[in-house]
Amino acid sequence: MLRLPAVSRALAVRTSARASSNMVEVFVDGKPVMVEPGTTVLQTCEKVGVQIPRFCYHDRLSVAGNCRMCLVEIEKAPKPVAACAMPVMKGWNILTNSEKTRKAREGVMEFLLSNHPLDCPICDQGGECDLQDQSMMFGADRSRFTEGKRAVEDKNIGPLIKTIMTRCIHCTRCVRFASEVAGVEDLGTTGRGNSMQIGTYVEKMFMSELSGNVIDLCPVGALTSKPYAFTTESIDVLDAVGSNIVVSTRGGEVMRILPRLNEDLLKYENILSPFTHTHLQGVQGSEVGAIAGGMVDAEALVALKDLLNRLDSDTLCTEEIFPMAGAGTDLRSNYLLNSRITGIEECDLMLLVGTNPRYEAPLFNARVRKSWLHNELQVAMVGHKVDLSYSYNHLGETTQVLQEIAAGTHPFCKVLAQAKKPVVVVGSSALQREDGAAIFKAVSTIAQNSRASSGVEEGWKVLNVLHRVASQVAALDLGYKRGVDAIRKNPPKVLFLLGADADCITRADLPKDSFIIYQGHHGDVGAVMADVILPGAAYTEKNGTYVNTEGRAQQTRVAVTAPGMAREDWKILRAISELAGVTLPYDTVDEVRRRLEEVSPNLVRYDDVEESNYFKQAHELSKAVNQSLLAAPLVPPQLTVKDFYMTDPISRASQTMAKCVKAATEGAASVDEPSIC
């Protein structure tokens, strides 16, 4: 594996005032700049605003220094240095545009292009290709190339990544990503010199939940998106982490999604035309109920709640269950990822309970892995043994183990007591069980005990809940009931399904002449059993507020207009309310958001996480819970990679995701791909 020792993390912004006394003075093109010792030449230049060209360097991966494009001249030094790897010394004058630097760049570019095929017109990366951009800016204007170029066979590494290895410039970003971030050491280099090839060597698929990210990393067109290539479709998975994306569209279709900080992708078939008819007039109280699914935005949730409240009904449920006993969802600290995703990088001990974060929240898992690699994080797990891409202490999968840790009799308790910043993460799937309240009580006890033990500082939060659906936190913030028990107990005559496709309630659970209305964008189960289908907008088609598992409210923006007669969900509900005679008091998105603020002000604090407290109170109430733990082992629903691709209605409707599942179960060769150049 091509890897040089990682440059130390001392370059990060979190330096104390003390460090300023040993800052080093360096000159970039004559301009002085002060930097911490250990900063590389490339970072120093970036600080001044000078971008040095590079291919293999990436600020989130370890330094390789093999492309040589970042060579710059240092005054009075005999040879140019690789800016990405060389730490600065006092008094250096970095010349980023001198004769020598320019000659070096032209030379490197000439070498890179000598074996690179003339594919620009047919290459997917054209227009956003680092090689194109840098050869225009830094390359020579004429070629001296008269030899023959080498060619390399394409590798089949899965249904998501299209590989044309002839274009590969061997920057090894994909290799380092797979090894460090994804934890899957499948990609590597074989051969040397002219015959060097990047691949898996054996016929193996790059089967990781983060595999699509290498498409974004690859600076040339060697690794591109197979679904996006030459077609109009692309695919996605949505989880409760709320990763930031940029949506690229063409015509009325979402073509692909690029990461902003992290990654998502999407394809869909929409329900196109509505049936306009409503049974809501004349219905009241417990005769009407609603279930909200996993991808509903906060505006729609509040509109639905207001609508039903005005009909004197409180039967609003989420599909995902959350224990009602104890403080339930009164206190936000009970159902959020309190330590935040950034808190993972500070903690020193993590206990995972009944969750497989690798497939439930892959980016959360990537952070844990980063912390495990660089900050010596210890991880322990109570639950079914799964491959998390990092090693952890498997304590067992029975609830017995959980009870022992809560009681203080398990040997792990000693380790927990010594941790300075422990974190306990319970998966929402564990809380869906019949004994969910008891599990929560046990976890809460463990969290309280470790807080009370030596060394944990006052402001540090230990208890965390990792959700799996994007709308759960917003629904809980707004006061929805958790789980469909309320509906089971008092089956309503009219049931409103807002994007609810998890098959929690069927016709059989409701009275014979009940009326079901389904509103959503990708109906599978829910739409099939409904009497009326109202097409709503998907998250790429509306300005919606979603709250992630940390409690951070974020906005989606309109990337494409919704097809056919589909409308934004809250507008549909507003229209229905008028027909039903209980008109909702808002007409614009801003008014809806003002209403959101009236219910829970953190919902409109975009991109911020609000601290929530009262753990002690929550714990006191949970102690009163009288449920006992069931003997069944804690098994999260997603265990291997083939479970990862079809977890919500959008991905279930996707062809590419189906191919991924097939490839994961039967091997790459089983997936039938049309052969395109």
């Binding site: 207001d306 004197d312 936000r332 219910v599 009262y614």
Partner: protein, 101 residues
């Protein structure tokens, strides 16, 4: 303490007229101190007496402390708890409990 007496007085009657109670407060401002104290000292008692009733506590930095009460048919009423102490907060809660929608 007066607040404790008021809370005892309310007992299990939260759901008599109300459907939901929401408390908005700031985590650190002085104006929300009374509300914070009230929650710290009396929330558990209140919830134990009314285990099924939603008492949503929503902390958000910089907001003015407010008590929102929701009655049947979506009618809502709010009382500002700005600069009140825990006893006054309890009184405010009592008033919404007893008010007819």
């Amino acid at each position: 303490m007066a607040a404790a007496a008021v809370v005892r007085g309310i007992g299990s009657n939260l759901s008599k007229n109300l459907r939901e109670v929401r408390l908005h407060l700031c985590q650190i401002s002085a104006a929300s101190q009374g509300t914070r104290d009230f929650i710290e000292q009396h929330y558990v008692t209140l919830k134990t007496a009314n285990p099924e009733f939603p008492i949503l506590i929503r902390e958000c930095s910089g907001v003015q402390p407010v008590l929102w009460a929701r009655y049947g048919f979506g009618k809502e009423h709010s009382i500002s708890l700005d600069n009140m102490n825990a006893d006054q907060v309890a009184k405010a809660l009592e008033s919404v409990v007893n008010a007819k929608p």
